[in-house]
Structures are given as structure tokens and as C-alpha cells.
């Protein structure tokens, strides 16, 4: 049976979720999507800038051409009520009940507001949304989000756009052990394909990326590198790594070694 990622009843062969922001051009974005083969594309909704002719039509056309599952976000929202209103607009605009919930608690670190996340989640679940959070690795917060009806958790590796990689490996390991049946996707803070591979080796179910791809010198090549890394990490997790130990053990048999004294 194929190894697939299941989120809210939807199955995906890819375990990479890709952001659409900060690419140099829509063409680079389109090529990166082809190279990454992502399960989902994250998007936002914004006013048309004064004087601009771009009403999102090029992006809209690209999204339709790629036929990827769309995951709108509530980026920039600072309160639960603001996030819920944004989610409602996103649902009508993108015709999906999926929402990547962001409620920012600190505008410097972009750390999620745990209280706002829970408050917004309760309301969004009541309204029929399928919620994927940008949250921290705090287990109590994650448990509250699961209690509110979430079927997926998306803890950060590090704050958005920092590219620091997994800052709190111990907490992420512990989180992975707590809800073994819940899909866990690392969202934000990943810099290198090796970071993505590492968290997949730890048993995480997917990785959501944006800046690590879009701000690479060659975003298309980097998109492909991440796709391979995530697949490799997943395969390693499924294969089951050996148990590390302190004592050295020769891999080549000792028995029959020439010049060895007979015992």
C-alpha cells in the first residue's frame, strides 16, 4: 500500500506543503511548484494595492493550472476574531474549508498566540472549517487544539522566515510521541533540506516551507532538493534506524582475519 499523507480525509502522495510568497516572479513560482510537487499550496488574501492592476488574477490562474489543494492562511491576524473573519472570506474566495490558522502573539518574533489560537479554533470548527495551525511545540497548547476538534498539528521548527532549523529538538521529539495517530507537520523555520530530512526521520508527517525555497539563489533547484530530502527522511523513518550506542562495533567480521593469532 502506498505511503500517503492523510489530512482531514484527503490523501496526498507528497508530504511537502509549499508557500507561494517571496518568489522573484510568478514564473519562478510555477517552476518551483513543478519541481517540489507539493501536496498543498498556501496562499493569502489581500486588498488590491492602490494604483496596481494586479487583482490576483495571475496567481489565481496559476493555482488553477497546478490543480493543487489550496490552503489559505490568516497571516497577519493578531486576534482570534480577526482570524475568524479572514477565514470566512478565504473560504468564499478559494472555495475551501481548509484554513491555515495564524494568530500572531508577538509582532517581533511572530510567535503564535496560544490563547488566540484556541479561541479561534473553537469558533472555526463550529463554523465547519478544517483547521491547520501555525503553533508552537507546546504540548498543552497542542492538546487544547486537538480537544477543540483539530485533526492536524503544525508546530514551528523556528519563527517564520528565520531559517534556524529545529530550535527545540527535545520538545519536538516529545511532541511526536504524545499523539502518535495525529499528523504533525513542521511549519516554518526550516532553512536546509537536511533540516526537513531530519524532522521527517524523527517521525513528523510533513513539512511546510516557503522562504527556504523562494529566497534560495535557485528556488527551482532548491524546491527539488527539499522534495527529495522530505521523501528520504520519510523513508528512513519507515525503515527504522539502528539504535545508536557508545561502544564501537566492527562491521567487518573478525573471524578468519589473516595474520591473527589462532585462539
Amino acid at each position: 500500500m502506498a505511503d500517503q499523507l492523510t489530512l482531514y480525509g484527503r490523501t496526498f502522495s507528497s508530504r511537502l506543503l509549499l508557500g507561494t510568497a517571496r518568489y522573484d516572479s510568478p514564473f519562478v513560482l510555477a517552476d518551483a511548484v513543478r519541481a517540489a510537487n507539493p501536496a498543498m499550496l498556501t496562499v493569502s488574501l489581500r486588498r488590491q494595492l492602490s494604483g496596481s492592476k494586479d487583482s490576483g488574477q495571475p496567481l489565481w490562474n496559476l493555482l488553477r493550472e497546478t490543480s493543487r489543494t489550496i490552503l489559505p492562511n490568516t497571516a497577519g491576524c493578531l486576534t482570534a476574531s480577526e482570524a475568524v473573519r479572514t477565514a470566512c472570506m478565504a473560504r468564499e474566495l478559494f472555495e475551501t474549508s481548509l484554513i491555515k490558522l495564524e494568530v500572531i502573539g508577538d509582532e517581533i518574533s511572530l510567535q503564535p498566540d496560544p490563547f488566540g489560537l484556541v479561541e479561534a479554533t473553537v469558533e472555526l470548527v463550529r463554523l465547519g472549517f478544517e483547521v491547520l495551525h501555525y503553533c508552537t511545540e507546546d504540548w498543552v497548547l497542542c492538546r487544547r487544539l486537538l480537544d477543540a476538534g483539530c485533526e492536524v498539528l503544525m508546530p514551528w521548527a523556528a519563527p517564520i522566515g528565520t531559517g534556524q532549523g529545529p530550535r527545540n529538538a527535545t520538545a519536538l521529539h516529545e511532541l511526536r510521541k504524545r499523539p502518535p495517530e495525529i499528523p504533525l507537520i513542521i511549519d516554518a523555520g526550516i532553512d536546509l533540506p537536511s533540516h526537513a530530512c531530519q524532522v521527517m526521520e524523527w517521525g513528523f508527517d510533513g513539512v511546510l516551507l516557503n522562504t527556504a525555497v523562494s529566497r534560495a539563489v535557485d528556488p527551482v533547484r532548491m524546491a527539488g532538493a527539499f522534495a527529495h530530502a522530505i521523501q528520504s527522511g520519510r523513508s528512513a523513518f519507515l525503515a527504522g534506524p539502528m539504535v545508536a550506542q557508545n561502544a564501537a562495533v566492527p562491521s567487518t567480521p573478525e573471524i578468519g582475519r589473516p595474520f591473527a593469532s589462532a585462539s
Binding site: 488574501l45 488590491q48 473573519r85 468564499e92 474566495l93
Partner: protein, 65 residues
Amino acid sequence: MLIVVNGQTHSLAEPHTLAALLRSVAPTPPFAVARNDEFISRGAYQECLLAEGDKIDIVHPAVGG
């Protein structure tokens, strides 16, 4: 009657519905609308009567992470 649409003031004849305003502004689809920070669904545009000073937000698809 003055209405603020995406931060810019528009002068309208009274009475005016949201549907009429959108016909006038003619945003490129797809879009979604909020009135005074409250989401207004597509099906409610015709019944939504605007009032002096209303703030209308029209949003479109945008890139995001």
C-alpha cells in the same frame, strides 16, 4: 453618502446596496468582501444596505506562506 472602499473614499447616491457598489467598483473576480470588518457573503450583497461612513474591504487572492 461617503463610503470608504479599501481605504479610499467614494461618494455614492443614497440609498445604495453593496451589490450596487460592487457593480460600480467592478473588482476583478474572484474576490471577497467585508463591511465594517464583518464578512459579507456573496449571497447577501443585494440585501446589504450601505450607510454613511461604512468601510468596505474587497480582497483578492494573494501569495502567502
